[in-house]
């Protein structure tokens, strides 16, 4: 086996038992790593009783998995997964940084974490030594303080173990903030200060397990590869192609706060009441003024699309933040009626510090904003907060209630879908029309009505197995370099799709150079990716225990996306119901689902997923 360390750590936090696990080659060839492997592990261990598994209970399994390309591909990530407390299916949620490379250098491909620790803890992986350690001194701490503590402490410990080594470089750390500790459904897993595994809500899953962080440090090399010369040559050639994408390097997505409004009319504004603005004060050039690092990246990255923003004066002096990428410019900016970079950077930092999800957290604050605007939520409901659009202090106060799950904050901490249901129940009104979500997840900042966004596909969110995840949108036809079967490749081989400047065929070649295993494009789309997709679809449909999705009926766009765009150059544009339904039906057929969107017995058995077929039958999905 090449490209893999060949070892996974199976950690039960309840019993504090740590076991080493390995998987047969056949399983790794089929499910690769990251998202694919997570899906298989979850099915094997929890599939039979999936509907009863509480994503925030000790029975859930949290996975942090690398893939065979992790570390070798120029642009490194790790994939966090588990049963999602947002969609109640499985989400592959990737996060950038050195963690994946560090873990493999420690001789470990991934962590499978179950149970619940009795007291707050963190896991430390130092080569072949694995410890569950006390996290009570940092429980309750925000991002910066958590990072500072763990970084310093871990370095000191490693130094003590290797007194003659010389200076010891920092380890890699994945951790949660208070929003995760309090098991909200809108919390992320963090790295550095504001890198995040966002979609899925795995910060809350970590919190529910009393797990504050995982620290990894490996002194070894990355595992052996099959063809070192080809690997090195392709590392170079793929990087050279990435260098050529100058716009991307220059701006990352940091010009998006203006572009997706003014250019493509697809930006959430005041809870998606509009998608167009042309506020030039919100352009990339204005954000650029605060960038102390204009090219910032993680292990092996040739693009360095991240930018580091620091505020050194004014009201928000002392703010440090990965420059809000487009999603945070939207959800911590325009969606709350905030249109100036400094305030947006400040608010993005507050979100990061708390370990809230930029998208899910910003979206739920935006929902509250609209309900306040419409008089459905009053300042009495909001602890006296005057939640006018753009009132930063007000949104800041509400954010703190969400993080602590106090008063209305406890309702909002459940995310847009569940919050709207609960507030609607309390008020006796149907709030469905105000919620822009897909299967329990707030939709990323890419409206589809104008047809000008990169996701211009009407079934992109409706048919995704990862709900509102804009990185995993479905597409018809499903085969090709875009669409969900391609996202499954990135998230399972585990590398950064943003740093990918080659087509998937080159990725398959690189995979072969690393693993020595052939991979044809045909087999990927028709077998492997399709198999992973069926498993994700099945677990999404099984859902539970608190929510379930109806096939077909819930494979739809949120009501707001069916209304005409109210403003801008594309005012009046909307989606066409007939063409949406036609495309959806075609997509169902193309991926082997019946007319209701349920994987057919033929599809499942031809992919060797007999147990999935039986389960769907048993759960009543077959007429």
């Amino acid at each position: 086996m090449r490209g893999y360390a060949g070892k996974y750590l199976d950690i039960d936090l309840s019993s504090r038992e740590i076991k080493e696990r390995s998987f047969p080659d056949r399983l790794l060839r089929d499910y690769v790593g990251g998202r694919g492997l997570a899906t298989r592990i979850l099915w094997n261990r929890l599939g039979k009783r999936w509907e009863e598994v509480d994503p925030l209970g000790p029975e859930n399994i949290l996975l942090m998995l690398t893939g065979p390309l992790t570390g070798y591909f120029p642009g490194t990530k790790i994939c966090v997964s588990g049963k999602s407390p947002q969609c109640n299916g499985v989400v592959g949620s990737t996060i950038a940084g050195e963690f994946g490379a560090d873990l493999k250098c420690a001789g470990c491909d991934g962590l499978i974490i179950s149970g619940r620790a009795e007291k707050p803890c963190y896991i430390m992986v130092l080569d072949d030594q694995v410890e569950i350690k006390d996290a009570s001194p940092i429980w309750g701490r925000q991002a910066r303080e958590t990072f500072r503590y763990l970084n310093k402490r871990s370095i000191d410990e490693i130094k003590a173990k290797r007194p003659t080594y010389g200076e010891v470089k920092d380890p890699s750390i994945l951790y949660i903030g208070p929003a995760g500790e309090n098991a909200t459904r809108v919390a992320v897993v963090l790295a550095k200060y504001s890198h995040a595994a966002g979609y899925g809500g795995y910060g809350g899953v970590m919190g529910s397990k009393n797990l504050k962080a995982v620290v990894a440090k490996g002194f070894g090399p990355l595992p052996e590869v099959d063809d070192p010369e080809s690997m090195a040559a392709m590392h170079k050639s793929m990087s050279a192609k990435a260098y050529e994408r100058e716009q991307w390097r220059r701006w990352g997505t940091g010009g998006g706060g203006y572009y997706f409004g003014a250019g493509s009319s697809s930006e959430p504004i005041r809870n998606w009441q509009e998608e167009w603005h042309d506020n030039e004060a919100y352009s990339g050039d204005e954000f650029d003024k605060f960038w102390v690092k204009k090219y910032w990246g993680d292990f092996g990255c040739p693009v360095t699309c991240l930018k580091l923003a620091v505020l050194r004066s004014g009201k928000y002096d002392g703010t440090i933040c990965d420059n809000p990428d487009y999603e945070l410019q939207a959800f911590e900016g325009t969606n709350l009626g905030i249109f100036d970079p400094e305030t947006n950077i400040h608010f993005a930092q507050l979100i990061n510090e708390a370990g809230l999800c930029g998208i899910q957290g910003g979206a739920v604050l935006g929902l509250a904003g609209e309900l306040y605007q419409r008089g459905i939520l009053t300042s009495d409901d909001l602890q006296g907060i005057d939640l006018r659009w753009g009132n930063v202090e007000a949104f800041e106060r509400l954010l703190r209630l969400v993080v602590k799950r106090e008063a209305i904050g406890d309702v909002l901490a459940q995310g847009v879908y569940r919050a709207a249901r609960e507030i609607g129940r309390r008020k006796g009104v149907d709030l469905t029309n105000y919620v822009v979500q897909e299967k329990g997840m707030a939709i990323g900042g890419h409206g589809i009505r104008s047809g000008k966004d990169y996701i211009s596909n009407p079934i992109g969110f409706a048919c995704s197995t990862q709900g509102g995840d804009h990185g995993s949108a479905a597409r018809f036809p499903p085969v090709g370099d875009f669409g969900e079967l391609s996202a499954i490749l990135h998230d399972s081989a585990v590398y950064c799709a943003f740093a990918k400047s080659v087509d998937n065929d080159e990725i398959f070649q690189f995979y072969t150079a690393i693993t020595g295993w052939e991979q044809t494009s045909e087999e990927w789309y028709n077998k492997k990716a399709l198999r992973i997709l069926q498993l994700q679809r099945a677990m999404l449909l099984l859902g539970g225990p608190d929510v379930n999705w109806k096939p077909k009926i819930d494979d739809d766009n949120p009501p707001r996306f069916w209304e005409p765009l109210p403003s801008g150059p594309y005012a009046g544009k909307t989606l066409n119901r007939v063409s949406f339904e036609r495309t959806r039906a075609r997509y169902y057929r193309a991926v082997g689902w019946d007319k209701n969107g349920v994987p057919t017995p033929e599809t499942l058995t031809s992919l060797g997923l007999h147990s999935v077929d039986s389960k769907l039958k048993e759960a009543g999905f077959r007429k």
């Binding site: 500072r148 002194f219 690092k293 092996g300 360095t304 002392g318």
Partner: protein, 178 residues
């Protein structure tokens, strides 16, 4: 004594993207593997955003050479790099203690010290850094680098200095246990 033709590495920490491609290039060249800890240049990140590529400063009178009890270290006459004789090095660590910048470190296999050898005069780390147009590490002729810039400093000292520039004193104190 220095000779013409000797090269030195210029570092601009504010330009470091933190991509660590220098570590990849260095270990691929010397160890034929991607092996960040074996790399002769190591990027320290005590504070996210303050990344410090740390490697030999090529002092005029290298204390490490003086301190080696085995005579395993020498200055390459052509390039000016410190050369480790792996046959003589016992990994005793005297050079680490002697270096004012705490630059040398053990190869992670524990057998010997690793110090930047400038790849024989055309360092791989500089190539990747300039190919990517970051230019945090660039190569200059010996006399083009101001001697002050060549003062060895520890990763902590460099983090402090760079952190002061990026974050300012108050914020730096907040984010780092120096």
């Amino acid at each position: 004594m220095t000779q013409s033709g000797q090269v030195r590495m210029k570092r601009d920490y504010l330009l470091c993207s933190g991509c660590r491609r220098c570590e990849i290039a260095c270990s691929l060249f010397h160890d034929k593997r991607i092996w960040p800890e074996a790399s002769r240049v190591r990027v320290f990140m005590f504070i996210p955003g303050v990344e410090i590529p740390h490697l030999c400063f090529q002092c005029d009178n290298p204390k490490c050479v003086e301190a080696c009890p085995e005579g395993a270290l020498s200055v390459d006459g052509q390039t000016g790099a410190i050369i480790v004789d792996n046959g003589l090095c016992t990994a005793c660590g005297s050079c680490i203690d002697a270096c004012p910048g705490h630059v040398p470190h053990l190869h992670p296999d524990g057998s010997r010290i690793v110090i930047c050898d400038l790849c024989g005069g055309d360092p791989e780390c500089v190539k990747v850094c300039t190919d990517g147009k970051w230019d945090a590490l660039t190569l200059l002729q010996h006399d083009e680098v101001h001697p002050k810039e060549q003062q060895p400093e520890t990763p902590q000292e460099l983090t402090h200095r760079t952190g002061m520039l990026i974050l300012g004193e108050r914020t730096l104190k907040e984010v780092w246990d120096e």
